[in-house]
């Protein structure tokens, strides 16, 4: 008996491309970003990667705005999606 189909597989995007839920897009001002990783730790979705500066994966970012609130350099602004 094949048991394989009974197990769930770890998948990014288990709810689809959640970026489509977004009303506001967080945009990082790369000149202001100090790479402190505060946004990385608090992002509920885990879509922020910090290598020197913060980069956001817009495919899955739901646009909650937590990153803007926790950013100590005020380097993130929320821009309305079209």
């Amino acid at each position: 008996m094949r048991l394989d189909p009974l197990f769930s597989k770890a998948t990014a995007g288990s709810a689809g491309e959640t970026g489509s839920w977004r009303n506001f897009r967080p945009v990082v001002d790369l000149k202001k970003c100090s790479g402190c990783k505060e946004c990385f730790y608090y992002c509920p979705e885990g879509v922020i990667e910090v290598k020197g500066v913060a980069r956001i994966d817009y495919r899955f970012c739901k646009g909650c705005g937590v990153c803007r609130e926790v950013c100590m350099q005020k380097a993130i602004v929320m821009v309305q999606e079209e």
Binding site: S8, T11, A12, A15, Y41, Y42, P44, C64, V66, E69
Partner: protein, 278 residues
């Protein structure tokens, strides 16, 4: 441990706490029904990178106990984590209490959003005093249970409270508990944007204000009870921010001045009680 693109709401504090599971080596999650079940994903997709067992409420700790014993016999090095909401901790309290008394080798994490959020905000035993929910439309009149203190009374190996507002403190507590053996309990405060009725970007602000106003106390017990660094200075009442700033949420919109003073007195009592243990 959690992958992006999951079903959590915008600004979800439970997803934030689930990311902190990275601090624990080889976790195996046991999740009773709740928001966490939904976030973990629907078959055949899973949002979690570790094994997850979905269980009915009351069997949570029975399953977790069996798993941890089986892994021990097989010589597999894992940490069995019973990940439940405050609602599941109400409904499954008998097995939770029994498991703590047996000192099973389980890490229990209760993510407390102060109501049954997954079914639409019904009041739980952890619901804040006078908070509006669908089963307490004029504000909750009953007491608020301090679950972490109840678990402390079971004389278990490790008890801690944490908050998503202080994520480094939360990660440290997960790491500390992950390395220990025996029954460990962590109570995480998770402000829920849709349930508490505040905008999704304010999750962290609300969580921090809860600590700063003294309404949520961060402490840790591992043989000795200590108030954790973020909460330390709020033992002095004069250092706390006005409670009104924290109660600035939709679920408290109906409160009068006297109500707020009454809640303040209850918070003072909680502090007095806790400081007696430290």
């Amino acid at each position: 441990m959690i992958l992006p693109g999951n079903t959590s709401c915008q600004g979800c504090p439970i997803a934030m706490a689930m990311r902190c599971l990275d601090e624990i080596e080889n976790p195996v999650l046991v999740i009773p029904a709740g928001c966490s079940t939904v976030i973990a994903g629907l078959h055949p997709k899973s949002a979690m990178k570790c094994p997850v067992v979905h269980v009915p409420f009351a069997s949570t700790h029975s399953v977790a106990c069996g798993l941890s014993e089986a892994y021990r016999k097989l010589g597999v090095d894992t940490t069995v984590v019973a990940w439940m909401g405050d609602g599941a901790a109400d409904i499954g309290f008998a097995t939770l209490s029994a498991s703590a008394t047996r000192r099973d080798d389980i890490l229990t994490v209760v993510v407390d959003n102060e109501a049954y959020m997954n079914t639409g905000t019904q009041a739980s035993l952890s619901t804040f005093w006078k908070a509006k929910t669908t089963t307490s439309p004029r504000g909750k009149t009953e007491e608020k249970r301090n679950l972490a203190l109840v678990m402390l009374a079971h004389k278990v190996d490790y008890v801690a409270t944490a908050s998503v507002g202080y994520i480094r403190d939360l990660r440290r507590k997960f790491r500390t508990a992950g390395k220990k053996d025996g029954f460990r309990f962590i109570h995480v405060h998770t402000p829920c944007p849709p349930g508490w009725r505040f905008p999704s970007e304010k999750t962290i602000e609300v969580a921090r204000k809860a600590v700063m106003s003294g309404a949520w106390i961060l402490w840790e017990y591992d043989g000795k009870l200590r108030i954790s660094p973020p909460s330390e200075k709020y033992a002095d009442k004069s250092k706390r921010i006005p409670l009104k700033d924290y109660l600035n949420q939709g679920r408290f919109a109906h409160l009068s001045e006297e109500d707020i003073q009454e809640i303040e007195r209850k918070i003072d009592k909680e502090w007095d009680l806790l400081l007696k243990f430290s």
